[in-house]
Symmetry: C2
Subunit: 193 residues, 2 copies
DNA sequence: TGAATACGTTCACTTAAGTTAAGAAATGAT
DNA sequence: ATCATTTCTTAACTTAAGTGAACGTATTCA
């Protein structure tokens, strides 16, 4: 399991055995069951997550309805807004599947950064890279229709459509579950016709 | 003008005079006229921008139509996707108003980082913070209607509605200019009625 | 200054998403 | 295995966004 992590890191920086050991000694691995809630609205938490295996999601409850806005799968990192802003969380985080996560918090990060400055470089690069990806995603979302967004998702993250319930996908696409059903039927119609 | 920059930085880290001088000696200030194009689709560039004064925007040309997806105003930093990905740009960047920008590139950043590690910390924090903000923005976009998005913008960035043409705002809100006109009329109707 | 272009609004019409409700299918718990 | 709950789909109706076109009003620039 740790190998997955080090393979991932090696794409960005090279680590000595000392550094690997430091990470392992500080890192907290956590197994979580499908449906488990990692963070609730209103709670304060300092935990960030790196998904080694499985899938977690962010959702809001607005007017009593769940609105899923993001999924994180293998080799993706999620630092909740409340950790950065030091404020109560606006959203929930829960497990879509049984998952294995690497849990971090700012204190642990600070310790790593001071011992191994290289590690701060890694975090900076990851943040910059993820920010760039996030912006492209947002741009695509803004400039396309729900139907285009779904077709886009089919191509870019076909796994998500398999592993995630439709009603969660719907709000991820910015629409209602009924509209997603209809839209899927419409696309099938087009392919057949 | 430099004071603006240092006041901003001082919110995150404290700088010695040496460090300030290093920034000034490496930094490139650039005055740009309204309408000037900083980056074109297909171009490769290594320049990142920090807006000291004015407003710049990102837009795509899709099927011959301009689609504006982002605005950057005072004290906001924009590192184009193509700088991170080392690939040709998918979008254009242009000046909405006469602006004063601080231009940076990866080489200059690397030099700063090695001389003053503190500066890498600043960049990491800014990237993390901006990422968190960006995600909240995206979440709000996904979970609200065009009308709600516009009302939201009225409250959060009223300045944008003043300084930016309607048709650019429209695509920023994910709709057509005609729909924005209609939506504004609808809101006025509600206030009157 | 005058012609051309770009911009914002309005209108009629089309298309698709939201809403409400019902029922079928899948899932989970006892 | 059965019952209850959740999830997904379908349908009819409402509402709002997309489309194409026209019109008045800036802006631009030759």
């Amino acid at each position: 399991m740790q190998d997955l992590l080090f393979d991932f890191i090696s794409k960005y920086i090279s680590l000595t055995d000392d550094e690997k050991n430091a990470i392992v000694s500080l890192a907290l691995f956590r197994q979580v069951k499908k449906g488990a809630i990692l963070l609730k609205e209103g709670e304060k938490s300092n935990d960030g997550y790196f998904v080694l295996k499985g899938c977690i999601r962010i959702y809001y409850i607005i007017d009593g309805e769940e609105k899923t806005t993001a999924f994180y799968t293998e080799m993706e990192a999620l630092t909740p807004h409340c950790v950065i802003q030091k404020a109560p969380s606006e959203y929930y985080i829960s497990c879509v599947e049984d998952s294995i996560l690497l849990v971090s918090d700012p204190d642990m990060e600070a310790e790593m950064f001071s011992k191994f400055p290289k590690f701060e470089t890694l975090c900076r690069i990851l943040a910059e890279e993820f920010l760039a990806k996030q912006q492209i995603n947002f741009d695509e979302f803004k400039t396309s229709s729900p139907e285009q967004r779904y077709i886009n998702l089919l191509q870019k993250r076909p796994d998500l459509i398999q592993r995630v319930p439709q009603h969660q996908l719907a709000s991820f696409l910015g629409i209602k579950p009924q509209s997603l059903s209809r839209l899927r039927a419409r696309i099938l119609e087009k392919i057949k016709g």
